[in-house]
């Protein structure tokens, strides 16, 4: 995005000027300072991105600018000047006047931000009316059409549930831009969407705001995306602005240690495998690691052949339609390496994970684990199989039982499989905690007392308790902040090198694939589009879909010095 649209001969007055802003929340545990001493300027027509992890105060800062802090939050110091007018002191009536007409907003989650009982057109018209704009059907269709909704006039008569996620976000953008505001606050506008949709939406948003001369305050957790879309980047950490400046300058020459680490760990900017076993040139013995006795010597620990899963969807009384979630899929996981299955939402990748874990029966095809078909295992063999294949799930808040303390969580698999006596199991739990770099004092803690990254370490420790040969990671790092994500990926790579684990890594994020996988299998609508080694797929993608996915990685086109990449 270049700034050719406006050519400021002299210094333009900033449109939004946040000065030494402090925001505090009154909670049951006392006053919490969410934002401290934040400074931020947005010039007319400029795009500025606030980057930070969850809890860094980035959304709070933006919400304060539109007067939408939650009831227990308040601006405790500083000023928010919009076009020279201090919003923190403005009356409630004045703020309502500003909203929509002068400051628009695109919220984060397209699924929950449209009222499900009103038609899309009605919700757009409501915004137009509230801001004194003409609100005929033609105006509504024009606004929706501008946001890139095809066939806008008839789409306006539909309800939100008839829209896909991308279309809903377009409708929200239409609402946000309907009154031609001078500043648009976009709060993680595409975090809930697939990468290819994200790219389309952001491209369109960029074109629109450039044409209208709207300034954009973009809030994101993705440094790559921020650098690609914004002229200037503000990095926030723990409620403070730690670094701000021109986007590329910050990326190429980060000065604050936090920014430096962020640039180093942002997966969208990284370009090589973390500590691959192959790269180290280690020769892994057959049936490697702790399982020298168990492996039968097959080179592929998991081999999936012609796997198909058909779900029967109910469509009216007594009738079913077939939905093919996984269609004739074949791939293999060589022992001691990582194979990634990549796809967007609805591609069937999680169904594959559940079938390999034997939690779901395939409709046809076979899954060979170490040479035996797991779909036909008897009760006893299945129990033995469970010891050798373990899952790690996406949500570290949901995958640990809140009633179990950490010791019991990690000990459970050992107890279920009757391994060792109480003392032996306790020693094993301690060893596992060491392996995932958690102090032993967490043993008596409960999951709600740990951070997301710590919980995911506990989940890794539990998965490793039975010394499995294969770990199935189902979006195992997707819910984590960038730095924590990098830590967990490093941990997984280390454990693979130490224990000779094989990973089946299910993810939507190609950037993560490049960091962790040796082989890739790209899925689209239940079918395998492309398979190959990670290097092949990234350097010479054969299919259009793979190319589109690769191009959609935010920040992929940015040129960085080698030490940052």
């Amino acid at each position: 995005m270049t700034s050719t649209a406006q050519s400021p001969a002299t210094e333009p007055a900033p449109l939004l000027d946040i000065r030494s802003l402090a925001i505090s929340f009154t909670t049951s545990n006392g006053i919490v300072n969410a934002v401290q001493d934040a400074n931020l300027t947005v010039l007319p027509g400029e795009t500025v991105a606030i980057v930070g992890e969850s809890g860094s105060g980035k959304s709070t800062t933006a919400l304060a600018a539109i007067g939408l802090l939650p009831g227990n939050g308040q601006v405790s110091a500083g000023q928010i000047l919009f076009d020279g007018e201090d919003i923190t002191r403005a009356s409630a009536k004045r703020i309502v006047e500003l909203r929509g007409n002068s400051i628009g907003m695109v919220p984060q989650d397209p699924m929950s931000n449209l009222n499900p009982v009103w038609k899309i057109g009605f919700q757009v018209r409501e915004t137009l009316k509230a801001n004194g704009q003409p609100a005929t059907d033609a105006d509504v269709a024009r606004v929706l059409g501008q946001a890139g909704l095809p066939d806008a006039a008839s789409r306006a008569g539909q309800y939100p549930h008839e829209f896909s996620g991308g279309m809903r976000q377009r409708a929200l953008i239409a609402i946000g831009l309907s009154c031609s505001p001078r500043l648009l606050i976009a709060d993680e506008p595409t975090s809930a969407l697939d990468v290819t949709v994200q790219r389309q939406i952001l491209d369109h948003l960029g074109t629109l705001t450039r044409e209208m001369g709207t300034a954009v305050l973009l809030i994101t957790h993705d440094l790559g995306l921020a650098a690609e879309r914004a002229q200037r980047v503000v990095v926030m950490y723990k409620g403070r602005v730690v670094e701000s400046g021109p986007a590329l300058e910050i990326l190429r020459n980060p000065r604050h240690p936090y920014t430096q680490r962020l640039v180093k760990s942002a997966p969208s900017l990284a370009s090589k495998r973390i500590d691959s076993v192959r790269d180290r040139g280690l020769e892994l013995p057959e049936g490697s690691g702790t399982h020298s006795g168990q492996g039968s010597g097959a080179p592929d620990v998991i081999e999936v052949r012609n796997l198909t899963k058909v779900f029967k969807l109910r469509s009216g009384l007594g009738r079913h339609t077939d939905f093919t979630a996984v269609d004739n899929m074949s791939f293999s996981v060589p022992r001691g390496t990582t194979t990634a299955v990549v796809g967007e939402s609805g591609s069937g990748k999680s169904t594959v994970a559940r079938m390999v874990l034997n939690l779901e029966k395939p409709t046809s095809g076979s899954i060979l684990f170490d040479g035996t078909d797991v779909t036909t295992l008897g009760r006893k063999d299945l129990f033995a199989f469970r010891r050798r294949v373990q899952p790690i799930f996406q949500d570290p808040y949901g995958s640990l039982d809140p009633m179990y303390n950490i010791f019991h969580t990690i000990e459970e698999p050992l107890r279920v499989h009757g391994i060792g006596d109480a003392a032996g199991r306790a020693a094993k739990v301690r060893r596992l905690l060491d392996q995932v770099a958690l102090p032993q004092s967490v043993m008596r803690r409960f999951p709600n007392e740990l951070s997301g990254g710590q919980r995911q370490r506990v989940a890794v420790a539990r998965a490793l308790a039975l010394d499995p040969e294969v770990v199935i990671c189902d979006e195992a790092v997707s819910a984590l902040d960038v730095l924590v994500q990098a830590q967990i990926l490093n941990l997984l790579a280390e454990l693979q090198a130490d224990l000779g684990l094989s990973y089946l890594f299910i993810t939507h994020d190609l950037a993560v694939v490049r960091q962790i996988a040796d082989d890739v299998c790209v899925m689209q609508m239940g079918k395998v589009v492309e398979t190959g080694t990670t290097d092949e797929v990234f350097s010479k993608p054969q299919q259009d879909y793979t190319r589109a996915l690769l191009a959609a990685i935010p920040g992929a086109g940015l040129e960085l010095p080698p030490e940052a990449a």
């Binding site: 270049t2 700034s3 400021p8 210094e11 900033p14 545990n29 400074n39 010039l43 002229q231 200037r232 723990k238 403070r240 602005v241 730690v242 670094e243 701000s244 400046g245 021109p246 300058e249 910050i250 020459n253 000065r255 604050h256 240690p257 936090y258 680490r261 874990l357 939690l359 129990f383 469970r386 373990q390 899952p391 799930f393 808040y397 949901g398 995958s399 640990l400 039982d401 809140p402 009633m403 459970e412 698999p413 279920v416 499989h417 770099a437 958690l438 004092s441 008596r444 803690r445 409960f446 709600n448 007392e449 740990l450 951070s451 990254g453 710590q454 989940a459 539990r462 039975l466 830590q487």
Partner: protein
């Protein structure tokens, strides 16, 4: 892309020494807290909980050891000479129409009321909880059968149904605490079953349940070890509140003459007996009615306090 020098300057915050830990620190300060531990810490500070808990402790003490609270034997010491007499030393609440001590009957009547409430609640939670958990966890035809069965009982008003059941010859002829409990359980279980079913459904697909299944835990074991403990909170709240309503239901049935037989002392029976002399001696009716209200209110207040403490939205994550 260059703009003015002022807005394009590269700002770097001063670096705090403690700002960047390599991994998150583990909180070491306080003792570890389970969900129940946290709820307890929260409860201890609620006046509503303290008052209701103290009242309930007192009521249970009275029910268990009535002789500690009165010297007057409740029965056999009624003298018609005292009929409807007012209070006098040793008999602080006066006498009934039959010349029995109101205070002594109040104290000794506590046991039947509280026993019916507690036993009924226990049975309802066991029966309704089990059926609801099975229905919610396994779904399918089992769910359909249990849910419809529950709806049938749910549709019958408790008191109306109880009147009909208690009129059946086998109940009419040997009325005791157990027949009352049985009747109340038959009409009370669907409520708990519904609550349990809903709670189990919301937990059964959680990742930690799938994770435990992948560890080799059997389906039923996962229900007992992971799903049920996490689905318990709303069941406890509902059970506490319905304990109060069961005590009222027993009193109502006894008042109507089809609950506990007259030879078992209970508040309901006393209220029923006192209504004939309401104008002459309202105290004989008001005291057992007051005791009933306070007891029921205590349990409902306790339920409210427990619900607030266990509210997942109020918990820190």
């Amino acid at each position: 892309m260059s703009k003015s020098s002022r807005t394009q300057e590269h700002f770097v915050a001063p670096v705090d020494s403690d700002v960047l830990p390599e991994t998150d620190a583990v909180q070491d300060g306080q003792a570890p807290l389970s969900m129940w531990g946290e709820a307890w810490r929260n409860l201890r500070r609620r006046p509503l909980f303290i008052i209701s808990a103290l009242l309930i402790l007192l009521i249970i003490a009275v029910a268990a050891f009535p002789q500690l609270f009165t010297q007057t034997p409740p029965d056999g010491a009624c003298y018609l000479a005292d009929s409807n007499a007012g209070p006098r030393p040793g008999h602080p609440l006066g006498f009934t129409l039959q010349g029995c001590d109101v205070y002594a009957r109040l104290i000794y009547g506590t046991r039947a009321s509280v026993l019916v409430g507690i036993i009924t609640t226990a049975c309802v939670v066991l029966l309704g909880g089990t059926l609801g958990a099975l229905a919610g966890y396994y779904g399918g035809w089992l769910d359909a059968v249990i849910a419809r069965l529950g709806d049938i009982f749910f549709a019958l008003p408790l008191i109306l149904g109880a009147i009909i059941v208690m009129q059946l010859p086998m109940f009419r002829e040997n009325r005791n605490i157990w027949t009352v409990v049985l009747t109340l359980v038959v009409f009370g279980w669907p409520q708990i079953a519904r609550i349990t079913r809903g709670a189990v459904i919301s937990v059964r697909n959680a990742d930690f349940v799938v994770a435990s299944r992948a560890l080799g835990v059997s389906r039923f074991q996962a229900l007992v070890k992971h799903v049920l403990p996490n689905a318990l909170a709303p069941v406890i709240v509902t059970a506490t509140i319905s304990l109060g309503t069961f005590i009222v239901a027993e009193a109502t049935l006894s008042f109507l003459g089809i609950g506990l037989p007259p030879d078992i002392m209970s508040w309901g029976n006393d209220i029923s007996a006192a209504q004939t002399s309401l104008r002459a001696n309202p105290a004989a009716l008001l005291w057992p009615a007051g005791a009933l209200s306070v007891t029921v209110l205590s349990f409902i207040m306790l339920g409210d306090a427990v619900r607030d403490a266990l509210d997942p939205k109020a918990r820190k994550l």
